[in-house]
């Protein structure tokens, strides 16, 4: 492993306590903010790696020094792309949601991307509340140009598939500032987000498995609505939404296109062809079929060489070890997945 350089595209930093975030909130939000997470669909066993609790106290992922030891140094990671979990995308009040998003960004900039980041290991994500896309665009503008924010991020839970036009102010801002939009699971089927989880699952196992269905709906929506034609510089990264479904979905979409092109005349290329230019997928949780050769075939079918980027999801319970998450890969493919693709995508 030592020869492989690593950029880890999904790492979660947590505030030590809610006051760290509250510090950046103005009233009336300051008092109202409870710091509660997503509320339900919690893992019934444990949500984070049990050995990730910092020895000095605080929740897993809240101590940059310990995180460096347990993740960055342990595996020799060159960069960790940080995705904070504000869970503001489930709130009905768009102003409250936007205030929380902004507070998280201030906090991240001051701490993980600021005083704990002399060597630039940490790269950050701008949290937005997609409930009010114009406000979200302003928040993106507020941080554009910051040396360590490398993307905008939102939860995959949404009231409508992401290709729809109400979201365009966000994509316009992303394009203007060259920031990709990361979509991460989080508030699917919660709060205001009925879509696009399939109804109302009973168990975490159901909810967690089906998260990838939401990502599929969003991806098809991005492509068919013509978002990538309208915003030629707009790029998307699907984080933690599953990997191996991609080839089958795109085969299906390309097949539909032959008959139904009539309905989406703005598509200038086969639907699947937009992916390499505009979309990246992170690896964790990587599906591991019984036979490694089957996974290797899927990686080839999905053009992993160009679109797959390694992620560990540290410190969450389904963390993928850089050493053992993948079967043995051909060296050039490994370099691309673990390092080159992210380096190019984030322009690091």
């Amino acid at each position: 492993m030592s020869s492989t350089r690593i950029i880890d595209c999904d790492v979660h930093p947590y505030p030590k306590n809610r006051d760290e975030i509250r510090f950046y909130l103005k009233e009336p939000w300051k008092t109202r903010y409870t710091g509660s997470g997503r509320g339900f669909y919690g893992n019934p066993v444990h949500g984070s790696r049990l050995d990730a609790n910092p020895p000095g106290g605080g929740p897993a992922g809240s101590d940059p020094i310990f995180l460096r030891e347990q993740l960055i140094d342990e595996y020799g990671e060159k960069h960790a792309v940080l995705l904070p979990r504000a869970f503001c995308n489930l709130l009905p009040d768009p102003d409250f949601a936007a205030a929380i998003a902004a507070a998280y960004n201030d906090w991240l900039a001051d701490t993980w991307l600021g005083k704990f980041n002399e060597d630039g290991v940490f790269k950050g994500s701008i949290t937005i509340a997609h409930q009010d896309p114009s406000a979200a665009a302003k928040e993106i503008e507020r941080w554009a140009g910051h040396p360590h924010f490398v993307q905008v991020m939102t939860d995959s839970g949404a009231r409508a598939p992401f290709g729809q036009r109400q979201y365009y102010p966000i994509y316009e801002a992303c394009s203007k500032y060259g920031l990709p939009l990361a979509i991460h699971p989080g508030t699917d089927g919660m709060g205001i987000n009925v879509q696009p989880t399939p109804g109302y699952p009973t168990h975490y196992i159901e909810w967690h498995t089906c998260l990838s269905l939401g990502f599929q709906a969003h991806l098809v929506s991005f492509i068919t609505e013509g978002v990538f034609e309208r915003f030629p510089d707009f790029r998307v990264v699907l984080v933690e939404g599953g990997v191996s479904w991609l080839p089958a979905l795109l085969w299906r979409l390309d097949a539909e296109y032959k008959a139904l092109r009539y309905e989406v005349p703005w598509l200038k290329r086969k639907p699947s062809e937009y992916v390499r230019d505009h979309v990246r997928i992170t690896s964790q949780p990587l599906e591991r079929p019984e036979h490694d050769r089957h996974l290797l075939q899927v990686l080839e079918m999905m053009d992993a060489e160009h679109i797959l980027m390694f992620s560990s999801d540290y410190p969450h319970w389904d963390f993928d070890s850089p050493r053992l998450a993948f079967p043995k890969l051909p060296e050039p493919l490994k370099q691309r997945i673990f390092y080159e693709n992210a380096k190019a995508f984030y322009r690091l």
């Binding site: 893992n43 066993v45 444990h46 790696r49 049990l50 050995d51 319970w317 389904d318 963390f319 993928d320 070890s321 050493r323 053992l324 998450a325």
Partner: protein, 134 residues
């Protein structure tokens, strides 16, 4: 095969565990209801330190919609992805035949008589100790 005295029995309460390094291997020793068990401290899945996981019980096989809880204290759950392992056998609950963690023999033995050099008395230590064989 190495014989390693790990600790005195009275220093490991029922339900407790101890993680030691023997011959360069990290090994977890568990005291479950009067018996001692030793497991390799590495999960067969992605090599997490299995023995720092939660010691717990499990839901027993049952009909749909029915929950039966049992085997309290006999299961360790991996601290990463939460797979359940039987402390008594090292076998995973979800697939005992193909997913298992290495176990080691543990014996409870009478402590050897130790000669203590203070004065010249031979002192018989009437204690039991936990011994792991690897």
């Amino acid at each position: 095969m190495g014989r390693h005295v790990v600790c005195r029995v009275k220093d490991m309460m029922e339900g407790s565990r101890k993680i030691v390094v023997l011959e360069g291997r990290s090994i977890g020793i568990f005291h479950v209801k009067g018996e001692f068990y030793a497991l390799k401290n590495s999960c067969p899945h992605q090599a997490a330190p299995l023995c720092v996981g939660t010691v717990t019980g499990m839901t027993l096989p049952s009909g749909p919609g029915e929950y039966l809880y049992g085997r309290d204290g006999e299961i360790v759950r991996c601290p990463w992805h939460g797979w359940e392992f039987d402390l008594l056998s090292g076998k995973s609950i979800y697939d005992p035949h193909r997913c298992l963690v290495k176990t080691y023999d543990v014996e409870v033995e009478k402590a050897e008589a130790e000669s203590v050099s203070v004065e010249t008395f031979a002192v018989q230590v009437e204690e039991e100790q936990v011994v792991v064989y690897i």
